[in-house]
């Protein structure tokens, strides 16, 4: 295998990677905000706007609290019964009403998978499924509460739009967009607080992911909570002289293949990073978008099959190698080691 990077450059990048641990972040102190209260406001606003909107919950009212106060007759709590939750949602939606279902993501996605597939998505009903606490968001609550296959599972459902918002502003947009979309949709919300990346007046789009930085030698494709990690990594890596662009995907299905391909055109390294399994996630989507024409180093950073330790979300990001450090390492790894990060042992 030919090393495309000069020995001097390789040494410099290795040095840069070792320095990462101690490097001072350039960014201002990050701000964190929970998506759920903001989405509760949005839901109430949507309830005012759409008189046909019905909201369903499974013994969890936080997302619907404001809606419930304003429109109690259009709120239904089915109890802790996710299969019935989704079946009832389908029945209501069949009469032409818009339905929003909000409950904890792991139980919604896994337990009600068949109802989602057969009762909602197959007939293309107007149901927005809001999964609270997707990915590793519930941290130390443990593996029962983690769901790292939700994006893939929902993307595999026919005609379903899948949103994985980055922050509170993105989440508010995604919820509005999902409800306005006349077919089935899934919105993954954070369990607790997520780093604020955007401003309230930011413009979002289903097929045009937000780009940070100009196209260059390296591209990071990220979604949800890995976006701030990618931005942090990009800032550090740019300091070594390597131009990095970060693409932040909020809508992952339909996958914005054209936008990802366009961004990758000038890149010699593409890193995908997701709080999700690689299969069916960003890694798969990006690989399909690049297959057959793009040549370079592709590093998929994703949750893998290892059992999650009891740890908070930040620690789990480190454990699975989807944090800013891992992204920096992946960007700076010598080209002779495809798929291997420069500081994997750290």
């Amino acid at each position: 295998m030919t090393d495309l990077v000069s020995p001097a450059h390789a040494a410099a990048t290795r040095q840069a990677a070792t320095d990462l641990e101690t490097a001072e972040p350039d960014r201002a102190a990050p701000r964190f905000q929970a998506m759920r209260p903001a989405c509760a406001e949005v839901l109430a606003e949507l309830g005012d706007r759409f008189e046909d909107l019905v909201v369903l919950a499974a013994d969890g009212h936080a997302l619907a609290m404001r809606f419930l106060r304003a429109h109690p007759e259009r709120f239904v709590d089915v109890g802790i019964a996710e299969a019935n939750l989704v079946g009832v949602a389908a029945g209501i939606a069949r009469t032409g009403r818009r339905v929003v279902v909000g409950t904890m993501a792991p139980f919604l996605v896994r337990r009600a998978a068949e109802q989602i597939r057969l009762d909602v998505c197959q007939p293309g009903l107007d149901v927005t499924l809001v999964g609270i606490g997707g990915g590793l968001g519930y941290g130390t609550l443990g593996a029962t509460h983690h769901v790292t296959e939700d994006l893939a599972a929902l993307a595999a459902m026919p005609g379903t739009r899948v949103f994985c918002p980055v922050d509170v502003h993105d989440a508010a947009w995604a919820l509005r967009e999902a409800v306005a979309w006349p077919g089935p949709a899934y919105v993954r919300l954070g369990a607790r607080e997520d780093e604020v990346v955007f401003t309230a007046d930011q413009e979002f789009s289903v097929d045009r992911p937000r780009a940070f930085g100009e196209p260059g030698g390296a591209l990071v494709v990220a979604t949800g909570a890995t976006v701030p990690q990618a931005l942090r990594a990009a800032e550090r890596v740019r300091a070594t002289g390597l131009p990095v662009q970060v693409l932040a995907l909020t809508c992952v299905a339909p996958f914005p293949s054209a936008a990802v391909a366009a961004a990758a055109r000038t890149a010699r390294v593409v890193v995908t990073v997701e709080e999700h399994l690689a299969a069916g996630g960003l890694a798969s989507g990006t690989a399909l978008a690049l297959a057959g024409w793009w040549h370079g180093r592709f590093v998929p950073l994703a949750v893998d099959g290892r059992r999650a330790p009891v740890a908070d979300r930040g620690e789990l990001f480190r454990f699975y190698g989807i944090d800013s450090h891992a992204i920096s390492c992946a960007l700076l790894a010598p080209a002779s080691e495809p798929g291997v990060t420069a500081c994997a042992s750290s």
């Binding site: 089915v78 019964a81 079946g87 069949r94």
Partner: protein, 289 residues
């Protein structure tokens, strides 16, 4: 294995026009329905046992709905969901008899489970344990809209093994969904044998009652009893109703009755002739009891 030409669609709606939209004469319709079900099984494997057991229930429900050729698009309409979707052959036969589904003009194979693009099929089903939840959602929305349309959902007793059914049973009673009527085709058998042996459901009526439902138990092949129970269920207020219909798997064809091996079957020419004769005799008598 039969080499004969398909005779699947040979039956015209019995007494063409007589049963389209009317609410009486159901035993004769049921006999015609059974003949259709049997003919379906000439050139393909068909869920014969459960289709024959549920036939009288579907005939009665569709009669009560007044289902006719102009399948209504009215949002306040009565609806029917066949949650035990594998008995779809009975549904096709009833829809054909009532002039909703024109089998002569149907292109391609008929789906082995209800497919909502087929005329008269309200909701696609096939995976057990879904129909009652969807029906409850329809009833919930109907209440929001102030509609009086009744949502009928037909379940198998074997289907009651599914836990999701009981989530919906609890939900419908809690929400007092009185426009919801469930009918259980309690033929006492499931694929591998007797329900009592696979997973005992008894005491079934007491279970539904304990969950807060209005209950009725009838002979699921007695059209008068079925119609009376259905009228009573449709008139209930403040609680959903279930009619436990005691039926015979394979009803009407002696060599299929109570036989688990006829859960799914395909008929040879000789078997079809024997079966049609059995069903025809009851048709001539105007009653199959």
């Amino acid at each position: 294995m039969s080499g004969s030409a398909p005779v699947v669609h040979a039956d015209r709606p019995l007494g063409s026009g007589r049963h389209q939209g009317d609410r009486t004469g159901t035993p004769a319709v049921a006999a015609a329905v059974r003949r259709r079900i049997l003919r379906f099984a000439v050139d393909q494997p068909v869920h014969l046992g459960p289709s024959l057991s549920v036939a009288d229930i579907l005939v009665t429900v569709c009669a009560a709905m007044g289902l006719g050729p102009s399948f209504p698009d009215d949002p306040a309409r009565d609806r029917l969901i066949l949650s035990k979707g594998h008995a779809v052959w009975a549904l096709y036969a009833v829809l054909a008899e009532r002039g909703v589904l024109d089998l002569d003009r149907h292109d391609g194979p008929l789906a082995g489970h209800p497919h909502e693009e087929t005329a008269g099929v309200e909701v696609s089903t096939g995976s057990l344990g879904h129909g009652l939840s969807v029906a409850a959602g329809l009833a919930e929305a109907g209440r929001l809209d102030g509609h009086q349309g009744v949502v009928h959902v037909v379940l198998g007793d074997g289907e009651l093994n599914e836990g999701s059914v009981w989530e919906a049973v609890m939900f419908a009673a809690h929400r007092r969904l009185d426009r919801l009527v469930a009918l259980v085709d309690a033929n006492g058998m499931q694929q591998e044998g007797r329900t009592a042996e696979v997973l005992d459901l008894s005491p079934l009526e007491a279970k539904w009652r304990a969950f807060g439902w209005h209950t009725a138990e009838v002979d699921g092949h007695d059209h008068l009893a079925l119609a009376a129970a259905l009228a009573d269920a449709r008139a209930q207020r403040h609680r959903p109703s279930v009619i436990l219909c005691h039926t015979i798997k394979g009803k009407g064809v002696p060599f299929m009755e109570h036989r688990a091996e006829w859960h799914v079957g395909r008929l040879s020419t000789e078997q079809l002739a024997t079966a049609l004769a059995a069903v025809g005799a009851t048709a001539d008598s105007g009653s199959d009891d």
